[in-house]
């Protein structure tokens, strides 16, 4: 599925904007701070596409060199190149206020796409519009309206405290000093970063730094936030805190959030829609609810018997087994669950039986693998 149908999109946006907790309750961790509710709710009014991408492609020319001295000398005189298609003919739309996960295995083209969306890279072909602007031609105007957090690249000055970087970013975005002070105060309170503002960044823990990074990216009140691996390297507790903050930003400010991550927890907690890209192409574009429904046809069954039994029956073979216990993965499109369970119960004296849905991580991994085989 390369592009969601308009009707699907409308329904999805409506669902996203509803204040329910249909994605597992992840976005309802905190109430919106009072000042945020009043200050930014209005932004949700816009119905225009926040991101519109049509047939986007990006190719790089990479130098190739064969092994050996002769080949090296030849390459000096006549270098040869190979064209790498990092992104191929990608199309999708993101509505204002949506929270979208942009997923894919390493080298799939995620970061290249996000760099084209933020105006860092110029597309080889295709059309991109972000907040109604062409990122490669209106980079400066777009920069004032978007925030970006690249997990592996800091925008804070390493030897200076975050307060200095905030001051510089405020100046870069031409925020009036009074407004900057107010905004800084709001973000310090919201992200609970007051104690770190005067500590050199090099002395902050990764979690503290990332909180400051995200706060810094929101200083100029962007309408859209791009996050590239924002929780990379964080421990479980800090990751959870960062996710809660991102969910709050999306929910309370109406900020459109476009996030790439390998962490399924990020996606489950924050996002309502997932676009999966592989080999430079969109392979899945659907709501998290629909994505999770994919798991309903796959069940993980665990059994434990009091004594040794034959654990194979028909074409159902255990994926893991001991003499008395086994785990099965059953596709309910091929086998009726009831029959499988009845067969398992009848094989011996049962001590334990569990039936679980496939986890989101497994679903995504299966999509990656399926696409790899097809490619």
């Amino acid at each position: 599925m390369n592009q969601a149908a308009p009707a699907d999109r409308d329904e999805r946006v409506a669902r996203n904007r509803a204040s329910d907790t249909s994605n597992g309750g992840g976005v309802s961790i905190f109430d919106c701070p009072a000042h945020v509710k009043h200050a930014h709710r209005g932004k949700r009014g816009s119905e225009m596409s926040a991101i519109s991408v049509h047939n986007l492609s990006k190719s790089f020319r990479a130098k190739v060199r064969a092994e050996g001295l002769g080949a090296s000398l030849k390459a000096l005189a006549r270098p040869s190149y190979r064209v790498i298609d990092a992104v191929k003919d990608v199309s999708f739309e993101v509505e204002a206020g949506e929270v979208v996960a942009f997923l894919g295995p390493n080298g799939a083209g995620k970061s290249t796409t996000i760099k084209m969306l933020t105006g860092i890279l110029r597309p080889s072909s295709g059309a991109v519009s972000v907040l109604g602007l062409d990122p490669s031609k209106q980079r400066s105007e777009l920069a004032r309206q978007i925030g970006a957090v690249f997990g592996q690249r800091s925008q804070l000055w390493y030897h200076l405290p975050p307060s200095d970087s905030f001051r510089l970013l405020g100046a870069v975005y031409e925020i009036e000093p009074k407004v900057l002070e107010r905004r800084k105060g709001e973000l310090i309170e919201r992200f609970d970063i007051g104690p770190y503002m005067d500590v050199p960044v090099r002395k902050l823990s990764l979690g503290e730094r990332i909180r400051c990074e995200i706060a810094a990216s929101l200083l100029h009140e962007p309408r859209m936030l791009f996050l590239d691996e924002p929780t990379i390297g964080l421990d479980l507790v800090v990751r959870r805190e960062v996710r809660a903050l991102l969910a709050e930003i999306a929910r309370c400010d109406g900020t459109t959030v476009f996030i790439t991550s390998h962490d399924v927890g990020d996606i489950e907690r924050i996002c309502k829609r997932a676009i999966i890209i592989n080999h430079g192409q969109v392979v899945v574009d659907e709501s998290m609810k629909v994505l999770r429904h994919r798991s309903l046809s796959r069940k993980y069954i665990g059994v434990k018997y009091a004594s040794s039994v034959n654990l194979e029956f028909g074409d159902i073979k255990p994926v893991k087994s001991t003499d008395t216990a086994a785990s099965y993965v059953v596709d309910t499109n091929e086998h009726r669950l009831e029959e499988v369970l009845r067969a398992l119960v009848g094989r011996g004296e049962l001590e334990d039986l569990t039936v679980e849905d496939e986890g989101l991580e497994d679903i995504i991994a299966r999509i990656y693998c399926t696409q790899r085989v097809r490619a």
Binding site: I120, S140, F150, A171, V172, E174
Partner: protein, 280 residues
Amino acid sequence: MSDAAQRANSKARLRARLKVRKYAVAASSALRERTAYRGSFLGSAIAYGLFVFVFSRIWASAYSDRTDIDGYGHVQMVWYFIVAELSSFAFSGSFWSLARDMKSGDVAYLVSRPYSFVFYSYAQGMGRAVANCMVLLLEGAVLGLLTVGPPPAVSPGQAFGVLVAMVLAGSVYFLLNLALAMTSFWVEENAAFYWIFQKLALIVGTLIPIELLPAKAQIVAWWTPFPSMSYVPARLFSAWPGDAGAGELLAYQAAWVAFSALLCHCVYALGRDKLTVNGG
């Protein structure tokens, strides 16, 4: 003027002020970052001190049987070297950090912000250079006083002229470093360009004044930016050429600043499209 016009006027003034302010804040942030670690000056301070000491001994030997070389006395020559080397040490070196950012692709994150990349980089470079200058100036002054005694007397007006010359010298140094670093947009390995640039800068006006070069080399030298980078501030400090002469030298520097800035903008405009970023 009506109230509305006054408000519009003051808004326009505020916007203009905010546009300029970002470069001032970038410079002050770079200055603070540079001074955050005292240890970061150690390498350049040791190398600078060693250079000044060795050359002060060489000049002492050269002046053992004479009092004047091409219009420069011993004291003038040593102070010339101290100021010329100060300029060389304080302002050069930005090439490496800029080229590293270009090659790693980090520059891509810097260019996608609402500012002029060239001016923003320049502001940061000059901020760092101010910190370098303060430390090396102190060291150079101590070494000069210890080796040859006080420098030639300088009036407040002349001191101001030297200060302006230093700022212009730093500007040419930084902008040319940036232009060279931006050749990374086309050439994978561009350190050779910088190596040639650095050596020429050393020969033309840093190690020795331009007047000591052969006549034909002097003519060629004046058509290059190198005299504006070390020679002019060192000459103004050690052997003030009269107000008119100083004015000409400062105008020469200003012309090279304008040329270097234009060059940077052209290289950047052409190279921007070549920008590629690692990863994907």
